[in-house]
Symmetry: C2
DNA sequence: TCAAGAGTTTGCGCCAGCGCAAATCGCCAA
DNA sequence: TTGGCGATTTGCGCTGGCGCAAACTCTTGA
C-alpha cells in the first residue's frame, strides 16, 4: 500500500473536529483503491464489507428495481462518504454505486465502524449529520416529484448538479462529468426524449449549452426561474 | 407528573438491548403529554426542543412548501420515535407533525440526546437503524413516484398503511385512523379526485370498502396485483 | 330538528408528456 | 478514412390524469 497520509482527509467535512493524531490512526487503517470508469464501487444487495470515502472522481448511486427500471439516487463528489450501510444497521448495500469517471477512494472494513464511532465521536456525529441531510434531500425529492412539472424537475436537477460539481468555463458552468440525457431522465422520473426536448428548447433560448454527455449552464438565474415555476412556457 | 413506568417502553424496538435499570433512568427523564386530534406535536422550522416517543394514537408528518402545497412524509405509529432532529445534527424540525387522532406521547428535552447516545449505545444504535430504514423508505418512494402510475402508487400506499396500522374486522382490514381522500392524494402525489375515482372503481370490484375518512381493504392480494402493475385496467 | 360545513363523487374537456419510430450526429477503433 | 455504435434529436399521435364545476352526503353543533 502506497504511503497514505492524513493530508488526504484533513479538512473534509466528515473529519471536522477530529484530532490530528486520530486522523493518522484513521488513515492508517484505510486501503486506497482506483475504480475505472463504469465499474462498480459496490453493488446492491451485496454484503457491505467496506465503507468508502471518495477522494477523486464522481460516483453515481443507482437503485434498481426487480423489473429492471433504474433510478439515480444521487451523485457522490470528492470528499463524501459512501456505502455507510453499517452506520444505519444494514448488512448489505442498498444500491449500486458506479464510477462515472475514473475514481480514487479510500476504503475501510465495515467492522471498524463501531470502533470509529466510539473512538472518534466527532466523526460519527458528522456522519449522522450527513445521513440527516441525505434524508432531507430524499424527502425534498419526493416533494418535487409530487408537485412539480417535468421542466421544473429537470431544471432543479441541473441546478443541483451545477452547485455540487460545477466547473466554471468561459461559456458558463459545466457539469464536471459525463452525463447523458438518459441519466438526467433517471434523476427526474421522465424519459430521455423529454429531457432532450427541454435541453434543445433551453439551448435555443441561450439558457444552456449541451452536447454529447455534456451540459453547461449558461444562465443559472433564468434556469432557477423555470425551476420555481415562475415562467410561462412559450 | 403521573407515575411513568418502564413498562411503557420496555419491549419497544427503540429500547431493545437496553438494561432494565437504564429504562428506568430513561423514563425518569421523560414527561408525558396528550395531543388532541388535529393539534401539532411539533412544527416545521421550529426550534427542536424535544424528541418524542408515540405511545398511543397516530401522527401525520407533513412537509409544507413555501407555496402552500403539502406532502405527507409518513405516519407514525405507537412505539415509534419522532422529532429526532438532534440525532441528525439539525436544530429545527424538518416537518410538521399533526395528531391524526387523540394521542399520548413521551417527550425528552433534545439536549439529553448526546447523553443518551453515550450512555445507552443500544438505544442510539436502534435509533440510527430506524433512521436508516426511513432513508430507505424515502428512496423507495422516490422510485415509486418516478416509475409507477397513479393507481399503482395509491395501491402501494394503501398496502403500506394496512401493514403498518391495519386492524382486522369482519369486512377486511381497516386502516385504523381517519384518513381522507385528500390525505391519500398527498401521500401519492395526485389529487383527491383521482383517488376518489380509483377507490370507487375498486369498491365496485370488491377490492376495498371505503367511506368518509375510512378505508377497509377487503382483498389485499388483488390490490397487490394492481400495485405491481400486473393487472390490465378495465 | 335543522343548517352549515366538511368530505366525497362524478362528468367533461383538455393537454403535458409518453411511446414509438426514424433520422442524424459524433466519437472511437481499425 | 471509414464503419459502426451509442447518443441525441425530432415528428406524430395518443391518453392518463388533472383542473374545473356541480351535486351529493354525512356529521356536528346550535
Amino acid at each position: 500500500m502506497a504511503n497514505l497520509d492524513r493530508s488526504l482527509i484533513a479538512g473534509l467535512f466528515a473529519f471536522e473536529g477530529v484530532a490530528v493524531t486520530d486522523l493518522d490512526r484513521i488513515v492508517g487503517q484505510a486501503r486506497s483503491l482506483r475504480i475505472a470508469k463504469d465499474q462498480p464501487v459496490f453493488e446492491q444487495e451485496q454484503e457491505a464489507h467496506s465503507f468508502f470515502l471518495l477522494l477523486d472522481g464522481h460516483v453515481r448511486v443507482v437503485r434498481s428495481m426487480p423489473d429492471g427500471r433504474e433510478v439515480i439516487v444521487r451523485y457522490i463528489s470528492p470528499g463524501e462518504l459512501m456505502g455507510i450501510a453499517h452506520a444505519l444497521g444494514r448488512t448489505t448495500y442498498p444500491a449500486n454505486a458506479i464510477a462515472a469517471v475514473d475514481c480514487v477512494a479510500l476504503a475501510w472494513p465495515s467492522q471498524l465502524w463501531p470502533t470509529f464511532a466510539m473512538d472518534f465521536p466527532s466523526f460519527s456525529a458528522n456522519t449522522y449529520k450527513t445521513v440527516g441531510s441525505r434524508l432531507q434531500d430524499a424527502h425534498t425529492r419526493v416533494i418535487e416529484m409530487s408537485t412539480e412539472q417535468v421542466d421544473q424537475r429537470v431544471a432543479h436537477a441541473l441546478l443541483k448538479l451545477v452547485k455540487q460539481t460545477g466547473r466554471k468555463t468561459e461559456e458558463g458552468i459545466l457539469i464536471d462529468f459525463p452525463i447523458s440525457r438518459q441519466d438526467i431522465a433517471e434523476m427526474t422520473g421522465t424519459t430521455l426524449h423529454t429531457v432532450s426536448r427541454l435541453l434543445s428548447a433551453w439551448e435555443e433560448q441561450g439558457l444552456v449549452k449541451s452536447g454529447r454527455q455534456k451540459v453547461t449552464v449558461v444562465e443559472p438565474h433564468r434556469l432557477l426561474l423555470i425551476a420555481e415555476g415562475r415562467v410561462e412556457k412559450s
